[in-house]
């Protein structure tokens, strides 16, 4: 049942400094409100714990896509629509564009942000697998200063993350090292739009002399967090993609992930589909079809 609206407070800070002050002055009391597409669902369900919010929507520092020779940095407020339309992302980080295209529907894509997707910390979120496979780095800011953290170290457990009470996520940095990679992204949900994933797979690989020179794999909806599957990667690195490697990789993946039964699917289905997608990924990159 919907929560009672007058119980909630939503403030609009005039600048970044004031926004950070909300966080610093009453630690743990205030939460940022970006597109609100996760927060409003909780509100409607009467499950929104915090009652004090400040909107970050107007903070210019958190917007925009910045490109340098080494990296592309997305402001935390970058929307899915912006991701879909960005030509550098389309060219060098295509999995992120596919993830954006398959997230929610048009309205959600106009309003939902990559930053919100990360901090909401759903294990079923669709951009994090792509971000993990692209070795993203997060930029965090508090009134005490800025810091960076590799995205793969950010989520520590179900809805747990290395974000201090006084910190905002400001940007997501993607190193431009993807040119020689093959990309494979597949979201499996109940329908083609407006569906939260049952399994989401993102993988990149570099094949040299018919063997795996580099590989990065991440999956959503198969563990308490979106998982970078480093053990499976280790099984693959340096190997040629043959039936033996594929079945060893399948076995490694099944050990590495820990899906559960929930309202959307079953643990068994997720295990099976995750392994099938891994196999399809390996065959696809081996046979040279690019995503």
């Amino acid at each position: 049942m919907r929560a009672y609206l007058p119980d909630y407070e939503l403030r609009v800070p005039k600048d970044l400094e004031e926004a950070l002050a909300f966080l610093a002055n009453e630690p743990g009391m205030w939460k940022p409100f970006a597109g609100g597409t996760d927060l409003m669902v909780l509100l409607e369900a009467g499950k929104l714990e915090h009652t004090k919010f400040f909107s970050v929507w107007n903070l210019a520092e958190l917007r925009g896509i910045e490109v340098t020779d080494e990296s592309v940095t997305l402001g935390a407020l970058t929307t899915y629509t912006e991701v879909r339309r960005n030509s550098i992302l389309q060219e060098e980080f295509p999995m992120l564009c596919v993830a954006a295209r398959e997230t929610g529907g048009i309205a959600i894509q106009n309003r939902g942000t990559i930053g919100g997707n990360i901090v909401n910390a759903s294990p079923a979120a669709d951009s994090p697998p792509a971000l993990l496979a692209y070795d993203a780095e997060l930029e965090l800011l508090s009134s005490k200063g800025a810091r960076k953290i590799p995205y793969k170290d950010f989520h520590t457990g179900y809805k747990q993350m290395k974000l201090r009470d006084d910190e905002l996520l400001t940007g997501i940095r993607l190193p431009r090292t993807t040119k020689s990679l093959r990309h494979y992204y597949r979201k499996v949900g109940t329908r083609k739009a407006q569906a939260i994933s049952k399994v989401c797979f993102a993988g990149v690989a570099k094949i040299e002399d018919e063997s795996v020179a580099d590989v990065r794999i991440a999956l959503g909806s198969v563990a308490p967090i979106v998982l970078r599957c480093e053990k499976t990667e280790a099984v693959l690195r340096g190997k040629s993609v043959d039936e033996r490697t594929i079945s060893a990789a399948r076995a490694a993946l099944i050990n590495e992930i820990a899906p559960i039964d929930d309202i959307r699917s079953t643990a068994k289905y997720r295990l099976r589909v995750a392994a099938n997608l891994l196999e399809d990924f390996l065959k696809t990159v081996r046979d040279g079809e690019l995503n």
Partner: protein, 819 residues
């Protein structure tokens, strides 16, 4: 009807059969239509209903004192304020607008507030304190049959069994003895809900003259009128129910609902208008949707596929209340006989109460489940006999104008032409791989399936026993040439208002857009029973036809006299009345009305329609008879991804025997909408429950209750078969529900053709497909579905000799029955 046949011969139809726009199309498309929630009255209060968080519990105490003190709260009522029970069927008067001492599912109302605005009402609702004493829950068909205590209701067959039905037509032993093959299958069809875009809303105003008006998004204003009279204890003559245009109904707005009674009562108490608009979550709790049904079907066939006997059992999870459930139970066994000849037929059905939102009628009411079972079963029989699925059906069709073993009188029957159309249109012969899956025609993963169905065109009997017409139409002719059609029927988006206008326009030779259509207002319109059971086009159509013909008669007499032209020479067309032999000799329609009014006084006519009597006279013969039956056949082409189990329906070819299209565009719209809804049921929709022993709705929201989007919707090729039925107005039959029925089995059969696994449970989810594929790869049966049915102590069957055996439609006297 003979009169119209004559017209048809005389001159081409001008309106009927033409793709006119709907009479309300512009208002709908531009957002001008006023739905129930759009109506606001001065000094209106808002109502919120407190609903039980417990699935099964006694109400120990309710304390509203804190809530009453909240500024802005005008009234709070509890069950004691509305002590009289009601229910749509006379045999199931088991609901209270607000629970009195016991709640039966999560969502059952326990109190209601009227306050100055929605937020205040909401806040007050949260201040009401209720103490519950939890009772053990009953959560499944199996538990409903086995757990006698605690009882959810203190009526029914016994324990938590609401209804048991056992009927036997003809000598079953003989039937099975004649068979070359006897096959048994067990299948399950999960429950799902209507998902109308408009959430239910109702506004009541009890005015200073002590008259109550209720505006409500209901499909059955007449039954709501009756329920209000009963529960509020005020004379029917003081109550006016206005059904507002429904933003979709699909059967979900066919019961009288607690919120309708509650706002009425609150208005009586406060003297102010009171409105309630349900949230989407509450709509999931109102439900009355598709019953989950477990089925076992056993059929004997000859080598050529001719059925010798069929024994069908169904088990329905009814949820917490009766609703239409007794009728639903009969419907799961009624229409198996109207497509292919079933010379001997036995049906047993059981409906149980469980602590879940009540089930009721959803598009196809009780028949999509058995139709799915039957058509998949027939596909398996065809495989065993190595017969083509189209051939086995085509070769054993029920004959037109015949009576079935269970005494349903068939009229026109265009199923054969439907099958031929979809077989041809889909290139069935080039796509269906046959039963030897080694020599595939389509690659592995692609397949086609075929299924057929039939549906009633209106129930033969009303919901409460009476001898009055099922539909009435009143026509007023204005001396300026205006025509107003008044009828109790309610347009739920299907176009019933338009059908009234088209038919009257055809008969009177005027433009349908000249006609004022005034419907669904119990003060102003004659009774029509409501928009359910696909009855409206046939029944109100016939009533409108009669009223219009009577009006034309009056005009004809007056004009014939004036022009000195023989009456039979007069024709009505292009807003004129003229001599067919001498078309310049004539008058405008308006002039004709002036002549008639001068001669006869104010011109108004009425028409009514009562369905023909059914040949069945046994107990239970009331469900199934209809003035006519529509038929559909469909082929689906699917793609099944063995990696994920995802089934994509790529194309559907569907042919529908409509009798005659009053408006082919509206007919196509209903066909495509039915395919869409059928695909949702086939592939993903389910009322699923979890936790608390499976009584908490898994996802009462549009976000997680998955129904297809436009991206899932496939191309549909629709063929209309026009085989006019003598009982339909201009030969028309139904289309609102029937075309949904073949869709789920068509998809299931196509999945089998594509990847060789049988999914004997709807919805056909990727989880089930992948499970069956894995079973198959391990050398086990490639199937997902139920394996057994519960034991039931069935009552002695009521036995009826079939017409073939010389039966007269009455049950045989009870003699000692051999075991």
């Amino acid at each position: 009807m003979s009169k119209n046949e004559k017209d048809k011969n005389e001159q081409p139809l001008k309106v009927v059969g033409k793709p006119f726009r709907k009479v309300d199309a512009r208002a709908k498309c531009t957002g001008q239509t006023k739905f129930a929630d759009d109506i606001a009255l001065p000094r209106m209060l808002y109502c919120k209903i407190l609903r039980s968080p417990e699935p099964h519990a006694l109400i120990k105490t309710i304390d509203v004192s804190r809530a009453l003190k909240l500024p802005g709260v005008h009234a709070i009522i509890t069950g004691r304020d509305l002590p009289i029970p009601y229910g749509i069927l006379p045999v199931s008067q088991d609901e209270h607008a607000i629970c009195i001492d016991k709640v039966r599912f999560i969502g059952d109302p326990v109190a209601a507030v009227a306050a100055v605005d929605e937020d205040t009402a909401f806040d007050a609702m949260n201040l009401i304190e209720v103490e519950y004493e939890k009772l053990q829950t009953v959560t499944s068909i199996e538990e409903g049959l086995m757990v006698d205590e605690p009882r959810i209701h203190d009526y029914g067959e016994r324990g938590n069994i609401h209804k048991l039905v056992s009927l036997e037509f003809g000598d079953m032993d003989e039937g099975f003895a004649e068979a070359d093959l006897i096959r048994e299958d067990i299948l399950f069809y999960e429950g799902n809900t209507h998902l109308p875009m408009e959430q239910h809303a109702a506004l009541a105003y009890f005015d200073t003259d002590n008259k109550l008006t209720l505006w409500s998004s209901t499909q059955t204003p007449h039954y709501v009128h009756r329920a209000l009279t009963k529960t509020l204890e005020i004379p029917a003559a003081h109550i006016r129910v206005i059904a507002t245009p429904n933003g979709g109904g699909f059967g979900g707005k066919s019961d009288p609902f607690n919120h309708e009674i509650i706002v009425s009562k609150l208005s009586m108490i406060t003297g102010r208008p009171v409105k309630a608009t349900l949230t989407r979550e509450e709509v999931f709790y109102c439900h009355r949707g598709r019953h989950p049904v477990l089925m076992k079907v056993r059929t004997g066939v000859k080598r050529d596929g001719a059925i010798t006997a069929m024994d069908f059992q169904s088990f329905l999870d009814g949820g917490a209340y009766g609703s239409y459930g007794v009728a639903s139970t009969f419907y799961t066994g009624a229409l198996q006989t109207v497509t292919y000849e079933v010379p001997r037929y036995k049906f047993r059905g059981a409906r149980v109460f469980t602590n879940k939102p009540p089930c009721g009628p959803k598009r196809g009411h009780g028949t999509p489940q058995p139709r799915y079972a039957l058509e998949v079963h027939l596909d398996k029989i065809a495989e065993e006999l190595k017969l083509d699925p189209a051939e086995i059906r085509l070769n054993h069709l029920v004959k037109p104008f015949s009576v079935t073993a269970n005494y349903l009188r068939i009229g026109s029957m265009g199923l054969g032409r439907c099958i031929e159309k979809v077989v041809e249109g889909s290139d069935w012969k080039d796509k269906f791989s046959g039963w030897d899956k080694e020599n595939r025609k389509l690659p592995f993963g692609k397949g086609v399936g075929l299924a057929c169905s039939s549906y009633i065109c209106g129930a033969g009997l009303p919901i409460y026993w009476n001898n009055m017409p099922h539909s009435g139409v009143q026509l007023r002719l204005d001396r300026q040439g205006g025509v107003c059609v008044q009828c109790g029927s309610i347009d739920i988006g299907q176009g019933s208002d338009s059908v009234l206008a088209y038919i009257v326009a055809e008969v009177l030779g005027i433009d349908p857009f000249d006609i004022r259509v005034l419907t669904a207002d119990t003060d102003l319109t004659p009774v029509d029973l409501g928009s359910y059971s696909s009855r409206v086009t046939l029944m109100t159509g016939n009533a409108a036809l009669q009223a219009a013909e009577r009006a034309r008669e009056l005009l004809t007499i007056a004009v014939a006299e004036k022009l000195s032209v023989p009456a039979e020479n007069l024709s009505f067309a292009e807003r004129r009345v003229f001599d067919v032999e001498n078309p310049e000799v004539g008058l405008s329609f308006a002039e004709a009305v002036v002549l008639a009014e001068s001669k006869f006084g104010t011109i108004g006519t009425v028409g009514s329609y009562t369905p023909p009597r059914s040949p069945g006279h046994f107990k239970g013969a009331g469900v199934g008879p209809s003035p006519a039956y529509s038929y559909s056949a469909a082929v689906a082409e699917v793609d099944v991804d063995p990696m994920t189990g995802i089934v994509t329906v790529e194309r559907v070819w569907i042919a529908h025997d409509i009798g005659r299209s009053i408006n082919p565009m509206l007919v196509m719209g209903q066909v495509e909408g039915s395919v869409y809804m059928g695909l949702g049921e086939a592939l993903m929709e389910e009322m699923a429950y979890r936790a608390n022993r499976n009584v908490v709705h898994k996802f009462p929201s549009l976000l997680e209750y998955k129904s297809p989007t436009t991206l899932e919707m496939c191309d549909v090729k629709t063929y209309l078969i026009e085989d006019a039925d003598p009982n339909g107005p201009f030969g028309a039959k139904e289309v609102g529900q029937g075309p949904l029925l073949p869709v789920p089995p068509t998809v299931a059969n196509a999945v089998y053709d594509a990847v060789g696994v049988r999914i004997d449970e709807v919805p056909i989810t990727p989880e089930k497909v992948l499970y069956a594929l894995r079973e198959k790869s391990k050398g086990r049966e490639g199937r997902f579905g139920p394996k057994s049915i519960p034991e039931v102590d069935w009552p002695q069957p009521l036995k009826v000799l079939t017409p073939e055996e010389g039966g007269d439609g009455r049950e045989m006297p009870h003699v000692a029955v051999h075991s």
